[in-house]
């Protein structure tokens, strides 16, 4: 079972910081690794979706009941279900159109086939996006040489989506697999942003680099990179202030941070995760577009999936922009972060 955090060295995956004798704590983690940390994903995610009462499959079964073939009603219901999950309107319409054609050509006759078709379609979109990552078109921790240190991971997104909380969770997990992690508090704007991050840093036992509120975020980043170099940290996670993607000056601020990072460390930022709140509607697509202009967004984190919203806009983002979904937030506690799996996600939607 794969590790949560991995970097490639030749062909075998090794954990950062483990090129020395493993400590007792790390051995325990290594054992856990064999159980596969993601085994609980399906369960947790499906629990989360179960709370949403009706899944797409339920809705379809309800309209199909007593029918012999797939008709316009069934397809309409399906369209509603997809749109209701916030899968982009255009994406939903495209998928329905495909199904409609197959029904017309009598290639699609029963409800289970229809479900399979839709699942496969959605899955293909997500997996395609992830293939970009696997092939190295989109950067990730497996693609960056081990001698580049620290690995700079930036977290960006609009206001209140869960950036800071996700950083707390990520720091905890990456550290618990034996890596030396540091956090940079580059949200110098929002009230008590530092205090909030400081508590997360403490919880996960990770050092935090911060400065006075109002400091230029790029200056904080510069400091943090210097500190991370000095302590030869493996990973530096950078919190940024929430910003709407329409604010030109704030997007320029991000670009500046990107430049500073790239100047100080080869290829940095190595990874930029855009946080998307599961309740987000169609605007999510525009968020992804605009953030991608300021920063090379390498992946998405879908937060608050423990609510009733299904976060389908990530499918539209994956389809349009080819950005893979990396992690999923399912709560407000430190352990409520899971690696994304397209299979579990789609199954959760359809269960």
């Amino acid at each position: 079972m794969p590790l949560f955090w991995k970097r490639k060295k030749q062909d075998d995956i090794i954990t950062l910081g483990l090129h020395r004798e493993a400590t007792e704590a790390e051995k325990k983690i290594a054992e856990r690794r064999d159980e596969g940390p993601e085994g609980d994903f399906l369960e947790k995610f499906q629990d989360a979706v179960a709370a949403t009462r009706e899944t797409i499959a339920d809705k379809l079964d309800a309209v199909f009941a007593g029918k012999r073939e797939i008709d316009a009603d069934v397809l309409d219901k399906l369209e509603e279900a997809l749109i209701g999950a916030d899968i982009g309107v255009q994406t939903s319409l495209d998928i329905i159109e495909k199904a409609r054609k197959q029904v017309q050509r009598q290639q699609l006759n029963d409800i289970d086939e229809l479900k399979r078709l839709i699942k496969d379609e959605l899955r293909a979109i997500l997996d395609n996006a992830d293939r970009h990552r696997q092939s190295g078109t989109v950067a990730s921790e497996t693609e960056v040489a081990l001698d580049i240190k620290p690995y700079v991971l930036m977290i960006v997104g609009v206001n209140g989506v869960g950036k800071t909380t996700t950083i707390g969770k990520l720091a905890h997990r990456i550290k618990s697999e034996g890596n030396q992690v540091m956090i940079c508090a580059a949200d110098t704007f929002r009230a008590a942003a530092n205090d909030q991050l400081a508590i997360w840093a403490e919880r996960s036992g990770v050092p935090l680099i911060q400065q006075k509120p109002g400091t230029d975020p790029s200056a904080v980043l510069f400091d943090a990179i210097s500190a991370a170099k000095a302590r030869s940290a493996d990973v530096l996670i950078v919190d940024t202030a929430g910003r709407l993607h329409t604010k030109l000056n704030l997007m320029q601020e991000l670009e500046k941070m990107r430049r500073i990072a790239g100047r100080e460390i080869q290829q940095a930022p190595h990874e930029v995760l855009l946080i998307i709140d599961a309740v987000t509607g169609q605007n999510g697509l525009e968020q992804a577009k605009q953030f991608s202009k300021a920063m090379p967004v390498t992946g998405l984190v879908l937060t608050k999936l423990d609510g009733t919203a299904k976060g389908g806009i990530v499918i539209a983002i994956a389809k349009e922009l080819g950005i893979p979904i990396r992690y999923v937030g399912v709560g407000e506690q430190m352990n409520d972060l899971i690696e994304f799996s397209s299979e579990a996600y789609i199954n959760g939607l359809f269960r």
């Binding site: 709370a51 949403t52 509603e80 749109i83 209701g84 999950a85 916030d86 309107v89 319409l93 609009v158 206001n159 209140g160 989506v161 869960g162 707390g168 704007f189 929002r190 009230a191 008590a192 205090d195 909030q196 400081a198 508590i199 997360w200 709407l244 993607h245 329409t246 604010k247 709140d277 599961a278 309740v279 987000t280 509607g281 169609q282 605007n283 999510g284 525009e286 608050k304 423990d306 609510g307 009733t308 919203a309 299904k310 806009i313 407000e332």
Partner: protein
């Protein structure tokens, strides 16, 4: 990426112009586009369904006005219906005599509760002369209470700090006591973000409500929310009973269809919108602006204004014809006055006209008030007439005038004066339509006839257009 709804409608309805009525087939085609536009704007699909049904009913069989293209007309129907659905009961915070008034802020995680608590406290203090106390009962999220403290300091409003107390109910009890003790008249409670399916935390809200008997429970909703807005809003409303909504983060480019979804499932008014991270970025909610935004693009806004202008212009031309034939009745006179008043207050109107027109004449506030009063009175007098009287003022004998005075709460003298002004104006209007503006200005001696002159003059074409154009600019800002 979104094609403007108006463009789409223009395409599907382009061959309809001049065909008289909107038919079923046209409406069907238009409704498909409207449905997609609303879904793209994040209006919940169930809400879209019922909305489209209602619009269909209204649009079907409507006569296509000569000067309007069918797509413009459909946009207008949709827009008007949206405005009606979004609007409604009081958008102000309701205060009672009780001390303190309690306002509870509730909502999902990260929707903007804490920030909006600060904004609202500042607003209430500055524009309503309230004395607010804020308290955070978010004992869960890291640094949630520090956040409110920092905000309080930034806006110079009080925040209750009891860091050793970690029970939300105990905290609000203390806060109520503090209000009594110090004399705060308004208590704003910032609660922790929570999921509507979190039974335990929803119960906690109920407890806080029971303890504080709030007069407002405001749902803070992120305007970027998609389809799920109906679920969360409905649950919050069912469990604790909301009294209003504030939509945050409207400074982005979200179409904000969640506004419609939330309004539809809760029935509660949207009171404010949040338009930035700073503490003064709170604005009143205007249903028409949001409707335009949901439909997408400012071009709908300008289109609707154009539609409005064309309707008015058509009426104006009609008036002119009537004047020429000396058929300008009291009813028309009233319509004209109403049109003028629709444009705004008179002094603003004067500002829009070329300055030389009245020889630099400027109205004082009192004169303006006087004119407004006069407008209202004229309206009341004409309303008290029968339709026969309105179409023929010559039959207005003494006894009729007496009855009209009584009906409109005016004196016979005032009725007489009004009728004189009307006949004066008719004369003047005729002069104007035949002799142009200059001759009309000559007739504008006293303030009394100004009302009529303005009303008629604007209706008669000429600077009516200018006024409309200026108005458009003003609105856009």
């Amino acid at each position: 990426m979104f094609e403007a709804l108006s463009d789409k409608l223009r395409k599907v309805l382009k061959d309809l112009r001049g065909q008289g009525r909107l038919t079923e087939a046209h409406i069907e085609a238009a409704m498909r586009e409207i449905r997609i536009a609303l879904l793209e704007a994040d209006v919940n699909f169930k809400v879209v369904k019922s909305f489209v049904d209602r619009v269909k009913e209204k649009a079907l069989g409507q006569e296509v006005l000569g000067s309007l293209s069918p797509d413009q007309q459909v946009v207008k129907v949709v827009h008007d219906e949206l405005v009606e659905m979004l609007g409604g009961t009081s958008t102000q915070i309701i205060f009672t005599k009780r001390v303190p008034n309690v306002i509870m802020m509730v909502g999902l995680q990260g929707s903007g509760k804490t920030t909006t608590t600060g904004k609202l406290a500042k607003h209430l203090a500055e524009t309503h002369k309230r004395r607010p106390l804020m308290v955070s009962v978010d004992v869960y999220r890291p640094a949630a209470r520090q956040q409110l403290e920092i905000i309080g300091a930034a806006i110079h409003q009080s925040v209750l700090k009891l860091p050793e107390l970690n029970d939300p109910v105990a905290l609000v009890k203390q806060a109520l006591r503090e209000c009594q003790l110090v004399g705060y008249d308004t208590l704003l409670i910032d609660t922790a973000g929570r999921l509507h399916i979190d039974d335990e935390l929803m119960n906690e809200l109920q407890q806080i409500k029971d303890e504080t008997q709030p007069n407002e429970i405001i749902f803070i909703a992120d305007s970027m929310t998609g389809q799920d807005a109906v679920n969360s809003a409905q649950q919050f409303h069912q469990r604790i009973g909301l009294t209003g909504v504030i939509l945050t983060k409207m400074d982005g480019d979200t179409r904000g269809g969640a506004a419609l979804s939330i309004k539809e499932v809760t029935g509660q008014p949207i009171k404010f919108i949040g338009v930035g991270e700073k503490y003064d970025a709170l604005e009143p909610f205007y249903p028409d602006r949001i409707a335009q935004r949901i439909l997408g693009m400012g071009d709908v806004l300008s289109l609707i204004e154009k539609v409005q202008a064309e309707v008015d212009e058509e009426q104006a031309l009609e008036m002119q014809r009537k004047l020429m034939k000396n058929q300008f009745t009291l009813e028309d006179f009233r319509d004209q006055l109403r049109q003028v008043r629709k444009l705004g207050s008179l002094d603003k109107l004067m500002d829009m006209l070329p300055s030389g027109l009245f020889g630099g004449f400027k109205m004082t506030a009192e004169q303006n008030q006087e004119m407004e009063r006069k407008f209202k009175m004229t309206d009341a007098i004409i309303n008290s007439m029968t339709s026969v009287e309105r179409s023929n003022h010559d039959i207005l004998n003494a006894s009729r005038r007496k009855r009209i005075a009584k009906g409109s709460g005016t004196s016979v003298q005032q009725v007489n004066q009004m009728i004189n002004e009307y006949t004066e104006m008719r004369k003047m209007m005729r002069m104007m339509t035949s002799g142009g503006l200059g001759s009309m200005m000559g007739g504008l001696g006293n303030m009394g006839s100004l009302a009529g002159g303005l009303a008629g003059g604007l209706g008669g074409g000429g600077f009516r257009r200018k006024a409309t154009k200026r108005k458009k600019k003003k609105k856009k800002r």
